[in-house]
Amino acid sequence: MSDNPAARPAAPVVERRGLLARLARARPTQPGEIYGVPGAGETRMLSIATIAVLIFIWWLSTTLGWVKPLFVPAPQAIVQDFVTILRRGYTGEPLWLHVGISTARVFGAFMLACLIGIPLGLAMGISPVMRGIFDPPIEFYRPIPPLAYLPLMIIWFGIGETSKVLLIFLSVFAPVALGARSGVRSAAIEQIHAAYSFGATRWQVLMRVILPSAMPEILTAMRIGIGFGWTTLVAAEMVAATSGLGYMVLSASQFLQTGIVIMGIIVIAAIAYMFDLIMRMLERRLVPWKGRM
């Protein structure tokens, strides 16, 4: 019976104990949660409240003059910077162009990495020969921070878009390919055997059992990959670019335009957050069974 959540007590009525006691035992469950499920519960309202409090403290500390505007400008100053940049642009180019260039670079590289990385990863999962060939190079370059080989990319492909897109491609490629590779292992042997016992061919098992089983892990890898790609892009634009959000933020910092720096960081964060949300939504839509069977 104890594997049935309903059988476990649902929520102990408020317990008062010392800090150490609370550290030593699992936290008591709040109403509406299932006992023993970590991190359950609705947090949206609290999240909004936390952020509101933080912005208030920010506003307060700048208005009261606790910090110099050069270090942390007031929130309203940043909104103003945002409006100005939106209207007049930065270094002669409008904000939407910087945003557009950055997202286009990441998105192009990401699509390319998925198109090549997922089939290759699946092939590596299925075939020992493919694994033998592609494992060493991928495992070798994966731990090296992509920025380290950015200079090589520039020497080989020039300072244009190719080198940046290729750099991001490489940074996304490894996690996506390795995710697809290990996703192949997700299919339970029972599922595979069941298909064979209904007369399936090898190809059918591959397409209709192994591939769908690998989907959750592939999507997770894609989510990690796009985050990684975005990080790499911002850094690459700081080092070697004349447009894009990373470039904008770094050059603003050189002119001590802190407002634009913070605004840029917020835009970078917002886009990263959007990518994450889109990938999560895709996960919910495409693999609703993830973690449930």
Binding site: M1, A188, E190, Q191, H193, A194, A195, Y196, S197, F198, G199, A200, Q204, R208, V209, P212, M215, V287, P288, W289, R292, M293
Partner: protein
């Protein structure tokens, strides 16, 4: 339908310097049409290997398996397997899971849904056709697994501890359901189980296996399931004196094996 396992042995080669293990040693077994054969034994007695052998997932090192005069070469739709768990496809709903075998055979949508309909009905899944399988309880999932195996119209149904993961009460209900479905279907069934009570209650023939190496040591003819199908309640069948006596006898055999090990 007639299945014969003739002098079948399976030796798993040793890996990394470990010695090889003989999972099955010279096993002989016959399953006739309409029979319900139950294989019972402790862990490691090779009963799962035996099932895998008949299903075609494992090839015999020696001997052969003959189905209706033909040697078994690999898995096929004439022998459908129901597993203990993890065998349903979570991205399909109940109806498509039940029809999965048919769709592998390339049958059209209308046709496979029509066939599935019948099995959804008899396994009590009506009303859940569109539910994703991962929302079902363990007992319901197992019924989907059985329905799926039946839609392929196999000659032989292989049940690999299908009720092992269910709680005691659901398990008893499922035993009764399987017997009712089997009754009158004319199908042959091979059931692997750990539970002596389940084995005695369900089978028409009981095979007891012993480990190291796995081999068949005893065979019993049974008729308890007939009593149940004739209208007696399951509980009264299981409480009858001859049932209890035979259960003790079988338990003794198995414990003796374990002590010898």
């Amino acid at each position: 339908m007639s299945l014969q396992v003739i002098d079948a042995s399976v030796v798993y080669p040793g890996q990394r310097g470990r010695s090889s293990t003989e999972a099955l040693h010279a096993v002989n077994l016959t399953v006739e049409a309409g029979e319900f054969v139950v294989v019972l034994g402790a862990s490691g007695c090779g009963k799962s290997t035996l099932l895998n052998l008949i299903a075609g997932f494992v090839a015999p090192t020696a001997g052969r398996i003959v189905l209706d005069g033909q040697n078994i070469q690999g898995p096929g739709a004439d022998r459908s397997v129901v597993f203990q768990k993890h065998a349903l496809l979570p991205w399909l709903n109940v109806r498509d899971n039940v029809a999965f075998g048919l769709s592998l055979q390339g049958r059209g949508k209308a046709e496979r849904y029509k066939i599935s309909e019948h099995f959804i009905e008899i396994l009590g899944l009506r009303g859940f056709e569109d539910a994703p399988v991962y929302t079902l309880s363990g007992g319901m999932q197992q019924r989907v697994g059985i329905a799926r195996a039946l839609t392929c119209d196999p000659k032989l149904l292989l049940l690999d501890e299908p009720l092992g993961a269910l709680d005691a009460l659901t398990r008893e209900r499922a035993q009764e359901l399987i017997l009712r479905v089997w009754d009158g279907s004319g199908k042959s069934v091979l059931l692997i189980t750990h539970s002596v009570e389940e084995a005695l209650f369900m089978g028409t023939k009981l095979i007891v296996m012993s480990p190291r190496p796995g081999r068949i040591t005893h065979t019993f003819e049974l008729s308890f399931s007939r009593r149940f199908l004739a209208g007696q309640t399951a509980r009264s069948v299981k409480a009858s004196a001859d049932f209890i006596a035979l259960r003790e006898q079988v338990l003794q055999i198995i414990f003796a094996d374990e002590e010898a090990a």
